[in-house]
Symmetry: C2
């Protein structure tokens, strides 16, 4: 109908689950563009009525009814939302029934369980892992490597830092990272600080052309960003990985989520917390 | 039946969506404990058959059939999984149909769209925001505050850093953070570096008792962790927020997701990227 359909993610809590699920579904529709909006903390009938007004105002304006992805645990609040002029898809509504039957137990219909503090120990693990990732970013210190689940190595801007932070926040995994410098690469030797931790190492690499683009944004026309330099560093890093038998991954075209999942899978690291 | 049901998150991609959705649903069942396992990158019939063997081996061992949450875009692969001895809930299977009808378009059944690199610009925004959060963590520099969407302020260990990193990774939001030191608190004045950016400030506070626990873990029995010190800092910080009309949030019992959603909502910051 129109080229840019409006999509709402509505939740009685943060909206993270509705966003994640809704976005996954929408990526399956090629060539369509969506105007997205999140309405979090819709936890009362009053707030739901206000949300319905927002949703209906889109129809009044553009003519195409919006798509609403929601995760509502309260039946009364959900009933209000259902009356909006939209395609209404509620993830809890669809799946709680079969789960209740399977588990032989009614669901609690309690707010704020996902992404809440239901499990303080798991939550603290995520926070501690995040602090670990930051304290052990970019080789700033190496004395805590004994506590690391994995140590990512690679040249500057190969994706180490965001991956470490993501693995910490999402899975409570302790991930440090160490940059391979030009000196390291020229010596063709593993940096001495990494030697005792060879089993924990995982290498990241990237296509030199893409690395050049990324570095170019950061320091335009520098020696650091030059394609020849990128070529040299990547070739030397990959040779180092191969020489020492370090598993590695080409991150070109990989999202942080993909890199993280691959690292955990290949290193056999279990996800310490549920997301 | 048994106390610890086995749960699998199965995906042809990273498994992040299946984990997020499945975990949200499971938190609605009080008092049940689950043994969870993620099987990512199940993208072929062969891999699906291997996954089925893993799932069925649980039944052979314990007697209670597992629960499988999956996000499979390929019908053939999904059909294989469906044959496993489990409660099989596929999120795509349930919702792609109504969406196809609503959008008047068949879904692409293409792998790796969610959490992939479908949108390089949005992805780059997340990475750049993450680098921004790290470079502007803990008041280490203030010269980039012009580019910040928000600046979180609060005493040490009130939750600033993980929240900034999360908002960057999940939403591409540029969030800096600045710690309120004892000097700042005693002067009862906003630190000069923050003055030009008052509209961007958001305060985090926390119950003194909880702060004491967190600091105690970090530096046991220090003056820094003493309950009297925590009491003083929190009271002074809250007074500062009130004096300057800075919106603030008590993070005690709030997850990073909740804090982030509240900050974005109250500051009116739109989520720059889809998760």
């Amino acid at each position: 109908m129109d080229s840019k359909r409006t999509v709402f993610f509505v939740s009685d809590q943060t909206g993270v689950t509705a966003e994640t699920m809704g976005h996954s579904l929408l990526t399956q529709f090629d060539g369509l563009d969506f105007k997205v909006s999140t309405l979090p903390f819709i936890s009362t009938v009053d707030k739901a009525e206000e949300a319905v007004r927002k949703i209906n105002s889109v129809v009044a304006g553009s003519g195409a009814r919006p798509i609403v992805f929601s995760t509502m645990v309260n039946d009364d609040v959900r009933e209000v939302l259902k009356r909006a002029d939209c395609l209404y898809l509620d993830f809890f509504d669809a799946f709680l029934g079969p789960l209740e039957q399977e588990l032989g137990q009614a669901s609690s219909h309690a707010l704020g369980r996902a992404h809440g503090m239901t499990n303080l120990a798991a939550y603290t693990a995520r926070i501690n892992a995040t602090n670990f990732a930051l304290a052990n970013d970019d080789g700033t210190q190496t004395r805590e490597y004994d506590r690391a689940d994995t140590i990512l190595i690679g040249v500057s801007r190969s994706g180490k830092t965001p991956t470490c932070v993501y693995m910490a926040l999402q899975y409570g995994v302790y991930a440090a990272n160490y940059p391979l410098t030009e000196d390291d690469l020229e010596s063709r030797r593993l940096p001495p600080a990494l030697e005792p931790h060879r089993q924990k190492l995982f290498g990241l690499t990237i296509e030199p052309e893409r690395l050049h683009q990324i570095r170019q944004e950061r320091r335009p026309d520098s020696r650091y960003a030059a394609i020849a330099q990128c070529n040299f560093e990547i070739r030397a890093a990959e040779q180092l990985f191969e020489r020492y038998g370090i598993p590695f991954l080409d991150t070109t075209g990989c999202s942080i989520e993909e890199i993280s999942s691959r690292v955990l899978e290949r290193k056999g690291i279990s996800r310490r917390t549920q997301p």
